[in-house]
């Protein structure tokens, strides 16, 4: 009896209560705001009820299968993606008024959310061991890069960038999948060659880093950067670069690598700025969107209007007008949160991201082997850096680059990938896991 009780994931179950209530109350608010009437029925918020049922079912399934992994990570994700669910439900009718093709946005996102939760469950349940990920490291690396190259050749172009592959009725954003593949490769390679990477050798009076052992890393990274840059996807390039550098630093503890990397980055930025008019335009828009308020600066200006309108408490869900912002459902979702939920809402999103990242790092620190450690830290870094890049762009701390806000922005590939990341993190957190 005691053994059974000890298997029940009480912490997780308790932590799930508040986020799920939030999605139900939030959806009810949105519904009441749209009808301007106090009459409602449970069926009006079936989406949130289904979401609540699904996440509790997953937690209970973890209990049944005797999963002993981290109990805090999943509720944090439920809270963030619950917010994303609310934003999609809220934005879809407003966006559909402008362009009918958005009418199915909420339903699509709901399907992806369901699929994401299922993938998470599948990763935790089916992938009992992560050793095989490590074994096939070059397969992942070449697979990831191959997928991106394939996108360049047969991909579909949207918003001036060729980032998507059409597969039947679906479009896949290949860089989303590749980012996991790359982190798996990096973690495996670093775990295997950790000792060598830290070492130095002497050449005359110089102490040099072990260039032969860094070479595969740099090649792999350089190749993926090339592909990403050729795809005109600066946000993803920045993400890949930061993740590469962070993992190299965490594994080696050598600041010199970071400095060398940042210098290379500086030169790269300088070259890109001088070579591509596109980059110059982005920098100019970042510093002053009002130089061209009807065209190039339009989106940033509208995003600012939304954030400034929100003030401390926000207008309230479904009481603002975020649909004025172009791409509000993907790149600019953070501004929509700022308008309707105010500074409290935006800080809450940031705080939840910090909690998620800290949990990820704590899983990394508790992991048994270095592959698990590096993998957990790398995957967590993806989520952290991605959030910083898009939020930093939205508040104009850095130039804006189109990238999704994890778990909140619309985008199937992004949502599925992020749930796979959480699944892997949960898997790594399992103390029973043997490498």
């Amino acid at each position: 009896m005691k053994a059974i009780l000890s298997r029940i994931r009480f912490t997780e179950l308790q932590l799930l209560v508040v986020p799920t209530i939030m999605t139900m109350v939030g959806l009810l608010t949105i519904y009441l705001a749209s009808t301007r009437d106090l009459n409602w029925d449970w069926r009006d918020i079936w989406v949130s009820i289904a979401y609540t049922a699904a996440v509790f079912a997953i937690s209970i399934w973890f209990t049944i299968t005797g999963f002993k992994g981290d109990q805090v990570l999943f509720p944090i994700v439920v809270c963030i993606s619950g917010l994303g669910l609310l934003m999609m439900q809220r934005l879809t009718p407003a966006l559909a008024e402008i362009d009918e093709s958005y009418a199915t946005l909420a339903r699509q996102q709901l399907i992806y959310l369901g699929a994401g939760l299922f993938l998470l469950l599948a990763v935790v349940t089916i992938v009992r061991r992560i050793g095989w990920l490590r074994r096939y490291k070059y397969t992942w690396a070449f697979g990831g890069i191959g997928l991106m190259m394939l996108t360049m050749i047969i991909g579909t172009e949207r918003y001036g960038a060729r980032l998507w592959i059409d597969v039947g009725p679906f479009t896949i954003q290949s860089s989303e999948i590749s980012k996991i593949a790359l982190v798996v490769f990096l973690a495996a390679y670093l775990a295997e060659n950790q000792e060598l990477i830290v070492s130095t050798y002497r050449l005359g009076p110089l102490r040099l880093p072990p260039i032969p052992y860094l070479l595969p890393l740099i090649l792999m990274w350089g190749f993926s950067m090339l592909v990403v840059v050729a795809q005109n996807d600066l946000g993803t390039a920045l993400l890949f670069f930061s993740v590469f550098l962070a993992m190299l630093y965490m594994a080696s503890g050598r600041l010199s690598y970071v400095i060398a990397g940042l210098s290379a980055f500086g030169i790269g930025v300088y070259l890109a700025y001088n070579l591509f008019g596109r980059v110059q335009l982005r920098v100019a828009n970042w510093l002053d969107p009002w130089r061209d308020p009807v065209d190039a600066g339009y989106q940033q200006i509208q995003g600012e209007y939304a954030l400034a309108t929100g003030k401390l408490f926000g207008t309230g869900l479904a009481q603002g007008h975020p649909a004025f912002i172009p791409a509000v459902h993907s790149d600019y979702i953070f501004a929509a949160i700022g308008e309707e939920l105010g500074l409290f809402g935006t800080l809450a999103v940031l705080l939840l991201s910090v909690l998620l990242v800290f949990r990820g790092f704590s899983i990394s620190l508790r992991a048994r082997d270095s592959f698990g450690r590096f993998l957990a830290a790398g995957l967590t870094t993806i989520l952290a850096v991605q959030t910083l890049i898009i939020v930093g762009g939205t508040v104009r701390l850095i130039p804006l680059t189109g990238i999704t806000l994890p778990f909140i922005s619309a985008g199937g590939s992004s949502l599925l990938t992020n749930f796979i990341i959480i699944g892997l993190l949960l898997r790594i957190s399992d103390p029973d896991l043997a490498g």
Partner: protein
């Protein structure tokens, strides 16, 4: 030591952020971004994980990386506080003109304009000049039942051309965002209570306004009639004018064809060479001609160098530094000696050229500034900056100084400025503070804010003012400004005929009427209207007469 360093770094970061908030004006100002980066470095120092030397390398590096991420999140939070709290009002209200008169502005403000009943604007007797009328769909449309004061009130076109003059300057009252009890406003905002804008009551008398428009009869020009005592503007008309009803446009209220019609009307107004969108009383910069002699006379009298009986010489020609000034205004070509009173009444250019030279540029500029020149008059709506000469140094040229003395040269004045000069003389030497918005009324009819003209600045002594009054009254009795007679009122006036290079000269009249305790001042200009005494003076006379017939 380390603890102190960390604490100092943290305090320094706070100071840098506070300094940046005070010193920079935009959230992506490059200096602000640099300061924020500096604050980031200081926060990293303050929060750098310590006691990590005993930890394995990996734990140490993860901790450090996590610290850097937290610093980044903190910087984003600071930026969010700046955008959403500290400067939210400025950012949300920011707009820009993008050419063609069209503006980019916060669409939420436009929507609010649809949903909030914008306050009405009435004249001093409660006649409605502008109001927002509810439509069947619950939105509001701005209407102008009386367009006699269109230029003064301005237009309101949130979706296309923004707003101007009173509609713009008093927007926070009209839209209900400012003026009431701040606590109540905040509560209303939180509970989404429907807001209603505040009404404005103007000092304008719409009958006088209509009279001014009738007298101008569409000729480019302006009339400004004001109470010289209080600074209340009773009529302020500019011609040609426009119909603000035809410029109103708000998101989703007009069909494509209606929008096209609004744009076409705008294009027509912009293409009109007489510039109907320029509100001449406050924005029209014209040479005031001889009406400026009032300022020159005030300067010579108030500086103690002459009185009404001082004799000046005018033999019909005056030469200064090679420039020959011919006298066109002498009533009798055999008379050579004139008192100041006669010189003013007959508007003798040669005499006032000499007075200008006698005063010197510094004294003349000083007195002109006392009457309000060389700056924009503080008024309810924007006013153009007037000038005596394009630069101060220009007046060191004696020929220009002489021209300036009699009102030619490079002087540019608004009709409001010229009305204030006449008002100052009538008001015993004090320049009244002009105003046109009298009070703000809430939806229950309660006055929530009452404006007044304030005390005004003294330009010349009461004794000097009495002498100038004598000059202006003589001018109205036997000089060029004669011809206005109103029972029970003392009239003083000065005409002007401003030569402007090509075309007919601008016709000016400035004057006042004192009857009992009422003192009214008027300025009239008709562009290219010919002699002031023929074109502008009758309009000024009619305005003063009509104003005295009304009850205040």
């Amino acid at each position: 030591m380390t603890t102190f360093l960390r604490f100092a770094a943290f305090v320094a970061a706070l100071l840098v952020v506070a300094y940046g908030l005070g010193e920079t004006s935009d959230q992506a100002d490059q200096r602000w971004l640099v300061l924020l980066a500096a604050a980031g470095v200081m926060l990293s120092i303050a929060w750098w994980p310590r006691g990590t030397s005993s930890l394995p390398i990996y734990n140490r590096t993860v901790l450090r990386w996590a610290t850097l991420l937290v610093v980044a999140v903190t910087l984003i939070s600071v930026q969010l506080v700046r955008i959403q709290i500290v400067e939210s009002g400025r950012i949300a209200a920011r707009s820009a003109e993008v050419g063609d008169g069209q503006v980019v502005s916060n669409p939420r403000e436009r929507l609010r304009a649809l949903q909030v009943q914008r306050g009405a604007i009435t004249d001093r007797h409660g006649q409605v000049l502008a109001e927002s009328v509810e439509q069947s769909d619950g939105t509001f449309v701005r209407q102008y039942p009386n367009i006699e004061a269109a230029g003064l009130i301005g237009y309101y076109s949130p979706a296309l051309y923004g707003s101007t003059n009173i509609e713009d300057a008093y927007d926070s009252y009209l839209s209900g965002t400012d003026g009431g009890n701040p606590a109540q406003e905040w509560i209303n905002g939180v509970i989404h209570e429907d807001r209603r804008g505040y009404d404005l009551s103007l000092t304008i008398d719409i009958d006088l306004q209509q009279k001014a428009n009738e007298l101008l009869a569409g000729r480019p020009g302006a009339v400004v009639l004001m109470d010289a005592d209080t600074g209340e503007v009773l009529a302020m008309a500019g011609a040609p004018s426009f119909d603000p009803n035809r410029l109103y446009a708000n998101t989703g209220q007009q069909s494509e064809e209606e929008m096209a019609a609004i744009r076409a009307y705008w294009q027509e107004l912009v293409a009109n060479p007489d510039a109907p969108l320029v509100f001449r009383p406050t924005q029209g910069l014209l040479n005031p001609g001889s009406t400026f002699k009032t300022v020159t006379a005030s300067a010579i009298v108030d500086s103690g160098r002459a009185n009404a009986d001082t004799i000046f010489r005018d033999d019909g020609l005056f030469e200064v530094d090679g420039r020959v000034i011919e006298e066109p205004n002498r009533p009798d070509s055999t008379q050579i000696d004139f008192t100041l009173e006669e010189s003013y009444a007959w508007s003798l250019n040669v005499v006032f050229a000499q007075i200008g030279l006698q005063l010197g540029s510094d004294t003349l500029l000083d007195y002109a500034e006392r009457f309000g020149f060389d700056s924009a008059i503080d008024f309810d709506i924007p006013t153009a900056e007037t000038q005596i000469a394009s630069t101060r140094d220009e007046l060191n040229n004696r020929a220009l100084l002489a021209d300036t003395g009699f009102g030619q040269g490079q002087i540019l004045a608004t009709p409001l400025q010229m009305a204030l000069i006449a008002a100052t003389i009538a008001n015993d030497g004090v320049v009244p503070d002009p105003y046109v918005v009298d009070h703000v009324i809430d939806s229950e009819g309660k006055t929530i804010e009452q404006f007044s003209g304030g005390g005004g600045q003294r330009a010349i002594s009461p004794e000097s003012a009495a002498i100038i009054q004598r000059l202006m009254q003589s001018s109205a009795e036997f000089g060029y400004a004669s011809g206005i007679e109103i029972d029970g009122a003392t009239i003083g006036g000065k005409t002007g005929t401003a030569e402007v290079g090509e075309g007919e000269p601008h016709a000016w009249y400035t004057g006042y009427a004192i009857a009992g305790d009422r003192r009214l001042a008027v300025a009239v200009v008709v562009e290219h209207g010919g002699p002031g005494s023929e074109t502008a003076l009758p309009i000024g006379g009619e305005m003063l007469r009509a104003a005295l017939e009304t009850t205040p």
